[in-house]
Symmetry: D2
Subunit: 324 residues, 4 copies
């Protein structure tokens, strides 16, 4: 690889808390290595439109503690077409942009791989509160989202206990049960309903009734958004059975995407940003930064997008043991 001088940086897909500290880390590490960084506004759409802006050290000052992304983000259909990608390449050439960092989720990493396939040096950085990306222990935003969920369920427990109620709480996560399962364990839920595991209304009703009989003053069921039937429908089904508790449904919604990033997310996104630049400088491309235990490693984007993350057996075991 020839010596790079100008690199592009975008956030893409759904936003997640920690994107801003990651932007800061990429920019400052790049500057420390004598690269110029152009911020690409609005994801792949911005790449196609040439919506670029030079970023200096001061431009990324004071953003460490903010949710969202100063580069804004979007989903972009046009980039999935050859025509769209050609327009993007033309914009890059015209701006002298020689490589691109893509911070985003599953779809965005597919876009990153497609861009790399056109011969552009590309490093992806996994950001998604859903934690549904293969090959990395954690994505940017997951820890913040989980803490937001924990705060909300701690509040719901106050009111549930005062009223002897059962709450079905729907978390985000798309097709992935990670958030719901972890939240279930650390919030002391009776049960977590996740797409990766079938649970019938009868089983849910039994768990709720069990809690009632054991003298619990509340009952929390966490439901992943990808689970079928949805929380509201499940609540309707079980409230017709004999469960003891009165039932309510809460859908946590988009608040899970926002908020000041936690300590963990600031550190993870900072490390991802630093290593992404260093990987690129080592001549690596078409890869994603990943958390592997303690370490930040690189994984081929091809591997990332052709595999599906699974849920560790350990957590099923823990969930069952502790919900008593």
């Amino acid at each position: 690889m020839k010596t790079l001088s100008t690199v592009g940086l975008m956030t893409s897909g759904g936003d997640s808390p920690g994107m801003n500290p990651c932007i800061r880390a990429v920019v400052r590490t790049a500057l420390a290595n004598n690269l110029r960084v152009m911020g690409i506004h609005g994801g792949f759409e911005g790449l196609i439109q040439g919506n670029f802006q030079l970023l200096g050290a001061r431009d990324v000052g004071g953003i460490l503690q903010h949710g969202g992304t100063i580069l804004q983000t979007a989903r972009c259909e046009e980039f999935t077409t050859q025509h769209g990608r050609m327009k993007a390449l033309r914009q890059m050439n015209s701006a002298g942009m020689e490589a691109v960092f893509v911070i985003g989720g599953d779809g965005s990493l597919r876009g990153a791989h497609a861009l790399a396939s056109e011969g552009v040096p590309v490093v992806g950085i996994p950001a998604s509160i859903d934690n549904d990306i293969y090959a990395t222990d954690m994505c940017i935003g997951v820890d913040t989202a989980l803490n937001t969920i924990v705060d909300a369920i701690d509040k719901l427990r106050d009111t549930a206990t005062s009223h002897n109620r059962a709450f079905l709480v729907e978390t985000m996560g798309r097709e992935c049960g990670y958030l719901a399962q972890r939240a279930g364990i650390i919030c002391g839920a009776e049960m977590a309903l996740i797409p990766e595991k079938t649970t019938t209304p009868e089983q849910v009703a039994e768990a709720v009734e069990n809690a009632y009989v054991r003298g619990k003053r509340h009952c929390i069921i966490v439901v992943a958004e990808g689970f079928t039937p949805h929380a509201a429908e499940m609540a309707e089904k079980i409230s017709k059975m004999e469960i003891g508790f009165d039932t309510r449904v809460t859908i946590l919604g988009h608040v899970q995407r926002g908020g000041r990033p936690t300590a963990f997310d600031r550190m993870l996104s900072t490390r991802f940003g630093v290593h992404a630049v260093e990987f690129l400088l080592e001549g690596k491309s078409d890869i994603m930064t990943a958390l592997d235990g303690r370490d930040i490693v690189e994984v081929p984007l091809e591997t990332v997008i052709s595999n599906k993350r699974s849920i560790s057996e350990e957590y099923f075991r823990i969930a069952t043991m502790l919900a008593r």
Copy 2:
């Protein structure tokens, strides 16, 4: 009034953050005045069932910072009947309970008045996150709920800004627009939709489009749960018009009822509790404690339940002026 020796204390209706500090204040003030306090579990239902427990100074230690209510709460149909009230009086007599403090919302204060009409000394304390009770500036729980809403909308703004989105956020409040209107002002919303004021979908769409045209990167509309049409329906209507932004809906739900009480709610509920006991000792009954400016005053329950709170013109004016 003869010298009292045993008084009862209940929380009733929907729970709200600050009920626990209020319980603590009533109990400790009563003890300081040589009264015995019996906690009544589960509101008027507990009064009918004789579900009583003597409360000492230590029983209310360590509850100041917790949401919900250690006495639990419920709504109770039976107490609205003469028969129900007779059962309650019988339980009170049998336990030597000579007066009752009722911490709760509109319906609970009606119950308190009905109990007073049977000749029982009763003092009501207004607790409702909706702030829909006449004659008191604030009820227990309103400030905490408002801060919970502010936190949530601050998070939504992060993600709204990243995506150029408009959010319709539904708050609690039943028939009262207080929470939605205040949240609208202090969260920088474009508009708040409240039951006390008609707003058409066309007007909403215009406000959203205006924000778009002025170059705002997000748009927040706060919708009271008592507003018609509901947030989801409104979102559907306006997203068919020309508004610039993509639209999402979030229903904040029961998290608004929970959480550690704020400084304001701890102080208000503490003052209400102290004064409620003092009013009773002064021979007052069939009244409610109320915040009137800086002062805690008493208001006849009759007045409270036969009037409807209105919304001050000042806030409409402020809201319009600042949403630009």
Copy 3:
């Protein structure tokens, strides 16, 4: 008063959370009334230096939720001299600035009064976490600071309880005991030591020992920074007496000045800002906006700076009654 066209706006003295929402409210209300607003950077020092910047509606967007002040602040000796004030007047004339809004504490309001004495239309807005300003129930920042203190003491109580410890916690407040006294009541402290009331080490030791004997697992004493002896010295004195608990000291410090403003502070500062502009437009000057119960009123600056706020007896009574 002739028709105004350009007004200045500064924040001065110690910063407090809510200054930003107040800036936003002043600017947008002024714009709605066809006034131009010049932001003065760095308080009276900025006025002397002519450090001005025109503020539009978008310049104050997205600041509602941030602590601190975008106009920065400072204390300024030079403005207390006639020479300094003349330099300020010259800068104002040169920029066409016809009136000034001063958001700040006691010293800043003295400066505002001095400026008004030179014939400049001036409206002061009370901002100080200490709540030590006469004639207003609350200043901007007090509610946020109190909630920060409450959060900190709730955390200290966790560790105090685990270790059977007594903590002396020093709050801010300069010569005013407001924060310490209120925090004492709403955090369930055994005692609050404030400058307005003499308390001997022997009395403190007795209160701590009492808590120990009654079986409490922790003991919290809140100490105002203006109290003598200071928290550390007091801790040393009492730990030599027989008090049962092991003792620790925590000085909360400048964290009390920062943080996202609470719902209450956002509303108070917004109302202050709106009314300040309206008072000026009504031709009023040399006044301060004040919270009087539910209402925002004006008070002559002369009255504000020549009186000292006192602490209501009610709170002493409540504190004594509940600490058991």
Copy 4:
């Protein structure tokens, strides 16, 4: 090892957030495996005094979200003597306690090893906000403490920026610089002063001045409590040099020990608790549970107490690169 029937459980040393979820996990996992669990109150002191209490599933309900430890904790000199340990063994025999779980820091794990050396099956669980224990990536409480520090520094930054100030912020950590270094990186500090690395007042002053010259509006230096000279002394030294900023010192103190455990700490402590019981049931003893990347593993207590944790080079590099 013979079949166990009764096990003891204590928290010892300084408390840390997450001890309660860990207690809950140990108790419920033990019950699920037909073990009886006796809670030992007040650490090794409680073991010597025989201060035991049987713990059922309901006794550990509702503690997941609370800081501190329901079993209380203490440091205990007597247990370091042979005589003290003999008294403890006698109490254990008398209560039929056959094994002990010790949740605590460095000193407590030494106690655990000493107990194991007497032939008692013992499993240690690392809990210390300082993260100064060898062989585990993280201890219980570190993530919560780090988030508390981040919240505090985010608040300090508000006021620092408003006043153009430099703050020296002292964190806990005893002889370990972990908290200070990580906080420095994720709070955007100019520098972190840690015991593991010599930094002169001249170097600090240079970093502060650099920030001033580059146009930064604030400067944060994080100082570990084990660093010499202490924060206050360092502030005094550098404020005599040419640094541009006015300087303030804040000592965060014991608030860092308290607070609701974060999502991460709830999960870590839950996993430690579950695995601790399972390791014991597999016949393992004189070990500690440890986080090794993604996995919970066992490490001999001997190894733990005879090694000192070091700080990874990666973080020094990141810190230097990003503070610009």
